[in-house]
């Protein structure tokens, strides 16, 4: 497949890196130095030029491209680039945007501006944050099959009743499957006798009800999070506040910049906006931020987010959620005590993998250690009309069937469950096995 990526910033470059192994990738960037750098660091063709100009796109071979990704840090440029690409050729176009107003416009028809898929990173990140807030102890939550199935990643707290139990004993929920345990750097595909340890990251797939019930068992003394503090008025912070408002929560948002604070206060009706430095101890004490149920750090930089989160932990906040731009930091953040580190890049990457694999839906687990795929079983698939235990024998060992939906209802997979054509299957797979699995099913 031929992929053209315009805008080789952090996001563009990381997409290019992940696609370079299996596809022909052409990267366009306006910055000559950046182009130079990419030419040597990645196995891609890097072109210096403007992604919105026709001549540059032709130079990149837009006529033969299958996928066009516009990921500059300017919304308008991305939209215009996609429109330009569509004007001369017919690639699948993906545009990254920051503002939801373009997304709203795009949603009117589904291909407005010549964009086939619009990814609003900030909104997707905010949605993940809100889902994580809604599920105690969770670090990542994604929805599949139109919301009928949840994938959740939990960190097992020390002292939890689940710690020390075997999977067989812990999993007494009908519509829930334990698909993977991440311990240290390794991914364990659990069997009935696997013992769950405190500090493990446990990946489960199942119905929302069962997942919530399990979260309740995992941390039994948890009460519903009402007092939510958002630190930093970035676009992600604003979207999170707005989503929480939609769920009848009244979060507090701390923003240091005077003008921005006023702007946000005008925009967010149900949120109390406070203008202060989020690391000012006196202010945090006076406003009793330490008593908050959740503190979400959405400041502009990873370092500030880390500092704000650690300070909140120190003050006694129950749970901290942090946005981490740099993928490499996520584990580090969680290791030093941040409750959940959310990587906005995952959201974009998931959409792109979804397209390149042709799967219905994808979620990255632990930022790329493993993936959860939703596949619609088509006639001729090796899964069709066979029991799961039969087809599993043909698939790589690092794959688990997490859940199945048939005609809108959830079926819990057992060894003898027979998969039919048209079923939606949610699979957990280690990243190394994903390519093979996607091809086989």
């Amino acid at each position: 497949m031929r992929v053209i990526i315009t805008g080789a910033g952090q996001v563009g470059a990381s997409i290019a890196a992940s696609l370079a192994a299996d596809h022909d990738v052409i990267v366009i960037d306006i910055d000559g130095e950046r182009v130079e750098e990419l030419t040597y660091s990645l196995d891609v063709l890097a072109i210096k030029g403007d992604g919105t100009s026709l001549s540059t796109l032709k130079e990149a071979g837009i006529e033969t491209a299958d996928l066009f990704i516009a990921s500059t840090n300017n919304d308008e440029t991305n939209v215009v680039a996609c429109a330009t690409a569509t004007a001369v050729s017919d690639p699948f176009t993906i545009a990254r945007v920051k503002q939801t107003n373009y997304l709203e416009t795009w949603n009117q028809t589904g291909n407005t501006f010549g964009v086939d898929f619009m990814v609003c990173t900030d909104l997707l990140t905010a949605e993940t944050i809100v889902r994580v807030i809604g599920l105690p102890s969770s670090q990542n939550v994604d929805i599949f099959a139109g919301g009928r199935i949840l994938m959740a990643e939990f960190r097992v707290p020390s002292g939890s009743p689940v710690a020390g139990q075997t999977v067989k004993n812990a999993d007494n929920f009908i519509e829930l499957t334990f698909v993977g345990i991440l311990r240290g750097d390794s991914v364990i595909i659990p069997t009935g006798d696997t013992v769950i340890e405190a500090g493990d990251d446990l990946v489960v797939i199942g119905s929302p009800e069962s997942t919530h019930a399990f979260a309740g068992v995992l941390s039994p003394d948890h009460t519903e999070d009402q007092d939510i503090v958002i630190v930093g008025g970035s676009q992600t912070g604003v979207q999170t506040a707005r989503l929480l408002e939609d769920r009848d929560r009244h979060p507090r948002l701390i923003e240091n910049d005077h003008e921005r604070a006023r702007e946000l206060a005008e925009e967010l009706v149900g949120t109390t906006v406070m203008e202060s430095d989020a690391t000012d101890r006196e202010f945090l004490d006076r406003e009793h931020v330490g008593d908050a149920d959740v503190v979400i750090a959405t400041l502009g930089s990873d370092e500030k987010n880390l500092l704000a989160s650690l300070l909140a932990e120190r003050l006694g906040v129950d749970r901290t959620i942090t946005v981490v731009e740099t993928t490499e930091y996520t584990d580090l953040f969680e290791a030093v005590g941040v409750g959940a580190a959310i990587n906005p890049r995952d959201a974009t990457a998931e959409e792109i993998i979804r397209f390149t694999h042709g799967t219905e839906n994808v979620a990255l687990v632990e930022h790329g250690c493993a993936e959860v795929l939703e596949i619609e079983v088509s006639p001729g698939s090796i899964l069709e009309n066979r029991s799961i235990s039969e087809s599993m024998a043909d698939l790589p060992t690092q794959v688990v069937v997490g859940a199945i939906t048939r005609n809108g209802s959830v079926i819990t997979p057992r060894g003898d469950t027979v998969i039919e054509s048209g079923d939606h299957v949610v699979l957990f797979a280690e990243t190394a096995a994903v390519e093979t699995v996607a091809k086989m099913v």
């Binding site: 006023r262 206060a265 005008e266 109390t272 906006v273 203008e275 406003e287």
Partner: protein, 523 residues
Amino acid sequence: MNPGWIGSREQLRVDWRASVGLVGTVVKYLSGAFLVPLVVALYYGEDVPTFVVSLLFAIVVGVTLERVDPDPDLGAREGFLMVALTWLVVALVGMLPYLIAGVVGTESTLAQPENALFESMSGFTTTGATVMGDISLDRHSHALMLWRQLTQWLGGMGIIVLAVAILPELSVGGAQLMDAEAPGPGIQKLTPRIAKTARVLWMAYLGFTLLEMVLLYGLHLLGLAPNMGLYNAVSHALTTLPTGGFSPEARSIEAFSAAVQWVIIPFMIVAGTNFALFWHVVTDGPKQLFDDTEFQAFTGVIAVLTAVVAGQLFLGTGLQALPVAIAPFNGNLEASVRHAAFQVVSIVTTTGYASMDFNVWSAPTKYVLLFGMFIGGSAGSTAGAIKIVRWVVIIKSLRRELFTTVHPEAVSPVRLGGHPIDERTVRGIYAFTLLYLVFFFVGVVLVIADAWRVGHYLSAFEAMSAVAATLGNVGPGFGSVGPMNSYLDFPLTSKLFMVFLMWIGRLEILPVLVLLTPAYWRT
């Protein structure tokens, strides 16, 4: 070649000729309004010369003033001067018929220029305070009384708004001129062109006036209002919609049946509502009206005050002593509610009609009405006083003040109907309200001192009500300035002061006050 700008001589930075010239144009066109009473005068065969002379005089004044600057170029500063002057000159021209009729006719009180000016200013500013010694069609011609009603109707939606609607030369600076004149903070442009907006507002105004006329006369034809003939129906429709309050009947609306009183109440409420809302109702449906914060507050205030007054009247505690002439309504629910609603709506919307002489009400009940005089109708209505929307903003910003005392870092904009209001506007509202109250208190002191000077007995309550009623364009006050009485007994100086109060009250103080600052006239 004179380097005057170097410094020795201060130069005027306001092109007053342009303002005066435009005032002339407005007066010239407005002289056409004299045709209405002239036709009535011809019909009844009375007072014809009065209006012929007035008409000619108005045209002469208009054309003369227009000559001052035949090609006026109106800037922002000239706009303030033009609006303030227009209202003054229009009141001066409008006093002519009273003066002439007073000199040649049977009514002697209006022969004094200060009385004629008071009556004219009270008319145009839709105050409704009167100095007519004897209000009756036996003593005054139908034409003169109709002129009195008509001045209120012309002033209600605004002379400048009317001028902007009609005169093409005002289309550019029109929005700013309307802003200076319109009640409430800021105007809403309903259409891209300001002249169209002005026309829309006047059409709505005209429409409601005609509707009330038809309903009132309809009641007469149905036999429910024996004395509400065509003349009275027209007269009262002309003074309800501008929240004016003049009535050709000495006993105001008490002279009419309960049915008439019930019909007038909703029209007073309409008059106190933002007319722009009716446009939104037409374009976007009735939800626009009921979702409007100001309309909710407006109707809420009326409902609460009505309930309080009705309760007092029903229980009998609302009456001081019952004059024989009024049927007892202690225990009569319909009458209690009707008089309470009528009076509360009349005062809050600054109309000034009376369904009974509320001087006979007990002190607490009267104080409720005095309180109502400061509330006023909605922004963009024809009502006077401080206006509901300002109170809503003040209450919300005070609540915010309490919140930020506990949470000093909280940033919380004041919202109106979900939309944040910028701090400049909030500050402007505080400034206006404070100025209004300062003018009220200083006014009370001056009026009391002036009355004391001439040995005229005036209680503090009467003085307060008189100042509140003129500054807020309400009309009647309490005691000697009650709804069935008049302002005739005040000394000349007090009357002129009240003319000033009505003038600045109608223009909402700031556009007039800005003319008195040196900064306005210089750089």
